[in-house]
Symmetry: C2
Subunit: 277 residues, 2 copies
């Protein structure tokens, strides 16, 4: 039995969504239980509760010895406001857990990875259920958390190199803060959604000084780019290659991650798919 606790460090979800995900998982995976923390459904302005409420729920889930994995319900914005304090208050039970999320959840994954706590994993989250193909995305993450073989779940480029995966904005924002892990020697994968190409260029500009010494960069999907009043003049791949060249970082090609239903699982560091609980 794999017991997965779900909290919302950023924005809330609805009970209908939780019910739909619970029904899917109950139908497909009898040996998995999902426990949605009540905080998932709290609304407080932009957030799923204020900082204290979101932090308390995260600690409830992470520090519970009866839980195997913590799954992030939804991104949006907010994990950065609680991630630094969260890692100082995690107990021994948290250290053996998988923490799975992406997008805004990257702030928490970064803080955990920096602190060496648990197994941070990039992958689909509860709110991905609403996408076309969302059921497959949900089951990809749940199967990974349940320790199933990862060959068809994980990003295909994983090899002997430690790796991380982040939303580009999230990584650019946390670089230079107390959440930033040492990424020397890592393959760094980045993806983005709904940002203009000039903003993508700007994000690489601000990020690359923090990625010196990485093994290389892989570009996930840069999707839903808004139309600007004029074309930028370079596409996302050209932008990534340009900034890699300027920084002396190898551009290693693409990564099968993004804000979409095909978003693959990327366990941080050297954890292999087979080492899942």
């Amino acid at each position: 039995m794999t017991r997965i606790a779900i909290c919302a460090p950023a924005r809330p979800i609805t009970r209908d969504l939780a019910d739909a995900v619970s029904a899917l998982v109950a139908r497909e995976m009898a040996d998995v239980t999902l426990n949605f923390h009540a905080q998932c459904f709290v609304e407080d302005g932009h957030f799923a509760g204020n900082d204290a409420a979101r932090l308390a729920a995260l600690l409830d889930c992470a520090n519970d010895p009866g839980t195997d994995a913590v799954w992030i319900a939804r991104g949006g914005y907010g994990s950065n406001r609680i991630a630094a304090e969260a890692v100082t208050r995690l107990n021994a039970a948290a250290s053996s857990k998988t923490f799975l999320g992406y997008s805004d959840g990257g702030y928490l994954l970064a803080a955990l990875y920096r602190a060496g706590i648990g197994r941070p994993v990039h992958g689909p989250i509860v709110v991905d259920m609403v996408r076309d193909g969302g059921e497959a995305a949900i089951l990809r993450s749940v199967r990974f958390m349940a320790g199933m073989d990862g060959a068809d779940l994980c990003e295909p480029s994983l090899d002997s190199c430690p790796r991380v995966a982040f939303n580009l904005t999230t990584l650019a924002i946390l670089a230079g803060t107390s959440l930033m892990p040492d990424l020397a020697g890592h393959v760094v994968m980045v993806e983005e959604v709904a940002e203009h190409l000039y903003a993508i260029d700007r994000l690489f500009f601000t990020l690359m000084p923090h990625l010196s010494g990485i093994a290389g960069l892989r570009l996930g999907r840069i999707s839903c780019v808004p139309e600007n009043d004029r074309p930028f003049g370079h596409n996302a791949e050209q932008i990534a290659r340009d900034w890699c060249a300027r920084a002396g970082v190898p551009f290693l090609g693409f990564a099968d991650i993004g804000h979409d239903a095909d978003n693959k699982v990327v366990p941080f560091g050297l954890a292999s798919p087979a080492s899942a609980p």
Copy 2:
């Protein structure tokens, strides 16, 4: 006679706009000449020419001993791509000049200030002519560059403390890069336009670790905030006060700067209005 050279390190302007600004200045200030570099009108995708063309024009203007001030035509995005190299190629003639701009121009102002070259000044740019009240904004900058008394031109809080002013995104993006000056002991003023409040919060999160040791923060106008699908729950002042408190930085109140026609002049450092050429 004050001779002002104008180039476009980011996006281009039209000849009609240049003609309108030239006519205004000719009518109001007989002792000022404006020289628009031909590069101001070049279009190359998003940019006013590629990096090499924009850099060359900036160096033409800055290194010309027959010019007293360099005025940035327009923001948008792009100065960051050439600012680091520009400061390595400026000559003695550049050192005595005023460099005036804001928004994306902040990348260049930062690089100059860090390098101790010339007099970086935050203030209205050529493209502000199109705003309601744009003529007053244009004349504010031109009068400052012409050495006129600054009491009604400058941001009113200027005192014995060194100070800088930036667009919030621009400062957050350049913090942690080779463009970032040492701002210890400075009053730092920030303004923003057309960003969601959650993004404002996120920008302060990523910026504040780079502002430890500043004298304090002043909040310019946070304008044209897009409506989100839900209210953020805190206004811009509350956000700024919160992040100042978390960082141990004094919140000093407001600053009369912003993406609008009232945007006031802020000479960087301790330069007083009366020291203008």
